[in-house]
């Protein structure tokens, strides 16, 4: 029997997440001959819609329908998965806020090794799976391996695998709802508190001047404001600036902040973590200024300048003013 790889499908309001098709590619990189099974948990019409859509891409779709799973409380989903998955399951869950909530505990309950935040696979030799991860915010990479004969839980990084758009699986959904057992938990989901709307909606901006840790001090933000004004741009930022409460949360670009689609994106003193880059869509023209020549941002930017933004930005502002 070929190896079974289970892909946990994230979805919201009846629409599968982008990662739903990325996990197919990830599974095939582990084992080209694997049979890949989508696991979809939820409730009611939304769940059925997602399952139907997934049968186009997955030959087998396992549906788990339970009123308590209408919102994906990771504690409950974990119990449901432990109930239905075979002992030697290879399980893929996207490495984002839900995957981080679910997967470490799932690996313990399945008594399987855990390979978090995987960016690529080298394949299986015997029972040993070798993968590529990153450490120190992407400054170095590592090969990591584990014996997967008793199963494994893996969280592939969103955006690291091409979505499989072939949609030629012609699959079928199987209802597994009867096998999940007791879902009781002492963690109860209450509600989603929506982000506050800020004074500027950066998701609509054409040109963004985005500032990161390299600004060093709140008082230095002045030079960013002056540059943004000279360019006619809006100001956005990376996570440390919001953590320090120097700018409001609504200006944060990234997976835990806003998703922006500008034409031009100036990354100033931003190292370029995958969480930050995950918030930039639509392939804008990216200019990066950073004093560290090895900053990951230079791998994804179109144009780069190695410089201290505290010195460079005021001179750039002046240069733009002279042009006008």
């Amino acid at each position: 029997m070929s190896r079974q790889v289970f892909a946990y499908i994230l979805h919201k309001e009846g629409t599968p997440d982008d990662t739903a098709l990325e996990l197919i590619t990830a599974a095939k990189k582990i084992d080209p001959d694997a049979s890949v099974i989508a696991v979809v948990t939820g409730s009611g019409d939304n769940l059925n819609t997602v399952c139907n859509e997934m049968t186009a891409s997955y030959s087998e779709v396992w549906k788990v329908d339970h009123a308590d799973l209408a919102y994906p409380n990771a504690e409950l989903v974990r119990k449901a998965l432990v109930g239905i998955l075979p002992k030697d399951a290879v399980v893929l869950v996207p490495h984002e806020h839900f995957g981080l909530d679910l997967s470490p505990g799932l690996s313990v309950k399945l008594d399987a090794p855990y390979l978090p935040d995987v960016v690529d696979f080298e394949g299986v030799e015997g029972d040993t799976l070798k993968v590529i991860r990153q450490e120190f915010s992407g400054m170095v990479s590592t090969h990591v391996q584990a014996d997967i004969s008793g199963g494994v839980v893996i969280t592939p990084r969103p955006g690291s695998f091409q979505p499989d758009e072939s949609k030629s699986a012609g699959g079928q959904a199987t209802d597994k709802s009867g096998e999940i057992g007791d879902l009781a938990s002492t963690r109860r989901y209450l509600e989603i508190v929506e982000a506050e709307v800020g004074e500027v909606d950066i998701t609509k901006s054409d040109v963004l001047v985005s500032v990161g840790r390299g600004i060093e001090d709140q008082d230095n933000l002045e030079i960013i404001e002056e540059l943004a004004e000279a360019m006619g741009a809006d100001i956005s930022c990376s996570r440390p600036i919001v953590d320090a409460k120097w700018l409001e949360k609504s200006r944060q670009v990234g997976t835990s902040g806003q998703t922006v689609k500008p034409k031009v994106y100036m990354a100033l003193g931003i190292s370029g973590s995958f969480q930050h880059m995950g918030g930039i869509k639509g392939s804008p023209f990216i200019v990066a200024v950073n004093k560290n020549p090895k900053a990951p941002i230079f791998q994804v930017a179109d144009v780069g300048v190695v410089a201290d933004i505290l010195e460079f930005v005021p001179e750039l502002t002046e240069g733009i003013a002279e042009e006008k």
Binding site: A74, R78, H97, F98, L100, D101, L102, P104, G105, L106, S107, V108, K109, Y114, P116, D117, E135, F136, S137, M139, V140, S141, T142, H143, V144, Q145, S185, T186, R187, R188, Y189, L190, I192, V193, A195, D206, A230, M231, K249, S256, G257, Q258, K263, V264, F285, V287, F298, Q299, V300, A301, V303, G304, V305, V306, A307, E315, L316, G319, I320, E323
Partner: protein
């Protein structure tokens, strides 16, 4: 409330350039500056604020060698009441699962209501808290950026999810939470603060003390090597004098519609 915060001593990426050593077996650890994992400071600050509000004790704990004691002392200078160092040669080379098993062995000797970790550390895995909770059979919530004690039996925890939204949960104690940056503003610790706690005793527990044998901490996941991937094409780097760079950059920005 009895609160335990799990912390880690890590190379400080703001003070060091992280490079792979010549054999590719590790990062180059010569002359590295170490500090406490950034996320852990937020967890300790949150614990201290809760204790100051409802009473109780904050204990900080780490798995590491003798040098790891310095991060415990730093967190005690912030205001943690006690420190515990879990240290044994047998713990070297273990994985996240092993670290969780070591912590569990000590935690079961105590009576903790709330266990906090940082959301992630230097390896970006974010795994120990969730594993620990599953081993202890208590609830877990990750990426917590809001925490409110409702009474001595339950808390309300907000999780950071996509788009700046927050997922609210009510969780019964005991539980394990991983704390996200930005939940509070960790207090500053000066040299004087660290001196004040310099003479406090920090007990050390070995594998034997914890009743752990080698198989309990044997890694299931092994790092084979460290490497730096072949750089892609990457950005067109602008070089020359500052004046030349700016002239070129202004030209590019104009062409791309970056200057209105």
């Amino acid at each position: 409330m009895e609160i335990l915060v799990c912390v880690k001593r890590v190379p400080d990426t703001s003070e060091n350039e992280i490079e792979v050593n010549s054999k590719g077996t590790d990062i180059d650890r010569d002359d590295l500056v170490y500090s406490v994992n950034e996320w852990d400071n937020y967890a300790v600050e949150e614990a201290i604020q809760i204790r100051d509000k409802v009473g109780g004790t904050v204990t900080v704990i780490t798995v590491g060698d003798e040098e790891a004691e310095e991060v415990l002392r730093r967190e005690m200078a912030m205001g943690a009441d006690k420190g515990i160092l879990l240290s044994d040669e047998a713990f070297e080379g273990t994985d996240g699962r092993g670290i969780a098993a070591i912590l569990k062995a000590e935690i079961e000797k105590g009576n903790y209501d709330l266990i906090l970790t940082g959301a992630q550390a230097d390896d970006g895995a974010g795994q120990v808290g969730g594993m620990l909770a599953a081993m202890l059979d208590v609830p877990y919530a990750s990426l917590v950026n809001y925490l409110e004690v409702i009474d001595d039996k339950k808390i309300k925890a907000g999780r950071e999810i996509a788009g700046g939204n927050q997922e609210m949960n009510e969780i019964e104690l005991p539980c394990v939470l991983s704390i996200q940056t930005g939940i509070n503003e960790p207090r500053y610790v000066g040299i004087r603060g660290i001196r004040k706690v310099a003479s406090l005793d920090i007990p050390v527990r070995t594998a034997g003390d914890l009743g752990l044998d080698a198989s309990a901490v044997a890694p299931k996941v092994n790092r084979v090597d460290y490497f730096v991937p072949e750089p892609g094409e990457g950005a067109e780097m602008l070089e020359g004098s500052t004046e030349e760079i700016i002239e070129k950059l202004v030209e590019i920005l104009k062409a791309k519609g970056g200057i209105k």
